[in-house]
């Protein structure tokens, strides 16, 4: 399944890179719905900076990481706006894919066939309890688990010395 998915993943990633790397330069720079709602009561100039009045947006404080090299979707040190925005978008897409994909990969169910402990969720509550019972012998190594019978200690010691 996952083998057949990689062309789709690659295609999707290319589209995301194109959107963030190129199309982002044509995005509107006006305040969004929330920010503009907080500007009610103030007057603003053509650059959407507050010029007078009184409004909730005046309470806004600087971002903790305003000095980040990628702050405000630009790459510090690159003078060309188009390049700066586009490159920050490309880096953001790659970073989000790496972080998100990495975390989801680490958190995924390892063995979809047997279900495992992760499927303890409500939907498969019944079967999941049966899982560990059958899972024990399978993971314990078939030959020794069968031969050991009741006394597991004798099988553990030889394997430890070797």
């Amino acid at each position: 399944m996952s083998k057949r998915s990689w062309p789709f993943l690659l295609g999707g990633l290319l589209i995301a890179l194109l959107l963030a790397g190129v199309v982002s330069n044509y995005a509107s720079s006006h305040p969004d719905g929330l920010d503009s709602s907080l500007l009610k009561g103030c007057t603003v100039n053509a650059d959407d900076e507050i010029t007078g009045g009184s409004c909730p947006a005046q309470q806004a404080k600087d971002h903790e990481l305003a000095d980040s090299p990628l702050a405000d979707y630009g790459v510090r040190g690159i003078g060309n706006d188009f390049l700066s925005t586009g490159l920050s978008g490309v880096l953001g897409v790659l970073l989000t894919f790496a972080l998100g994909g990495g975390l989801f990969w680490l958190a995924r169910r390892r063995n979809p066939a047997t279900g495992g402990p992760a499927t303890g969720g409500p939907a498969t509550g019944g079967p999941a309890t049966g899982g560990p019972a059958t899972g024990g012998p399978a993971s314990g190594g078939p030959a020794t688990a069968g031969a050991a019978g009741g006394d597991s200690g004798t099988t553990v010691q030889p394997s430890g010395t070797r």
Binding site: S5, P31, P56, Q59, S68, G92, G100, F104, W105
Partner: protein, 235 residues
């Protein structure tokens, strides 16, 4: 719809940080049942795609105001509600910690509105509409459009609730004014969200229907479809 520092006071921001953390932990627990070898990379792609589209602020009909995709409905449709909420949260964390977008102290508030509330509202509607509407591209498009639009308005009212609890400016009892302004602006933004979500999901469903979580998970009550219609058709 990212809240900047200083807009909501510290204690309320901290409460919502704790709430967001608990909600995300719950999403991890529930989402693991969905996360297999195929969904995990798909979820990474969904997060990356949402990051990209969130950069694309589009103008709305109100002069001087823009909006951008939130992505909760899109993520819920493609990778399910639990993993979907986590996708949006990953985007918000990257934006706050790397791009200076949305205060770090406000992260819990922003995750609550966009990742939790937005995705939850979207999936409730998705689950309802996909069962009611015909299983056609049009039915999927309407489901995506409506759930996305409503999810944006719900998320915007999450902010109004937070502002009521801990807004740093006294609105003089005019919270309803803020609620109305937010609702109207986000109804318009929601139209954009709905169009983007519907276009994206219908496209994915056309190329790889097996990769659309909602189409896999929300099958109509099983009908032995092939037997009856084929027999009837043959005669």
């Amino acid at each position: 719809m990212h809240i900047s520092n200083g807009i909501i006071d510290g204690p309320v921001a901290a409460i919502f940080a704790a709430f967001a953390l608990a909600a995300l932990a719950f999403c991890v627990l529930r989402g693991r049942a969905d996360l297999d070898d195929r969904l995990a990379p798909m979820a990474g792609l969904v997060a990356a795609f949402i990051f990209a589209v969130q950069m694309l602020n589009f103008p709305i009909f109100t002069a001087g105001v823009s909006g951008h995709l939130l992505g909760g409905a899109l993520a819920a449709l493609l990778v399910g509600p639990w993993v979907g909420a986590l996708c949006v949260a990953v985007v918000l964390v990257v934006q706050a910690l790397v791009f200076g977008d949305g205060g770090v102290a406000m992260l819990g508030l922003n995750i609550t509105n966009m990742a939790i509330l937005g995705t939850a509202a979207a999936y409730l509607l998705i689950a309802l509409l996909l069962r009611v509407l015909p299983r056609t591209p049009a039915g999927l498009a309407v489901t995506a459009f409506v759930s996305a639009l409503v999810s944006v308005v719900v998320a915007s009212q999450g902010f109004v609730l937070q502002y009521w609890l801990g807004g740093t400016t006294d609105l003089g009892g005019n919270l309803g004014g803020l609620a109305g302004t937010m609702a109207v602006a986000h109804l318009l933004i929601g139209i954009g969200e709905g169009l983007i979500t519907a276009t994206t999901v219908v496209t994915v469903a056309k190329v790889r229907p097996d990769l659309v979580y909602a189409l896999r998970a929300l099958k109509k009550p099983a009908v032995p479809a092939p037997a009856v219609p084929v027999a009837g058709g043959a005669r």
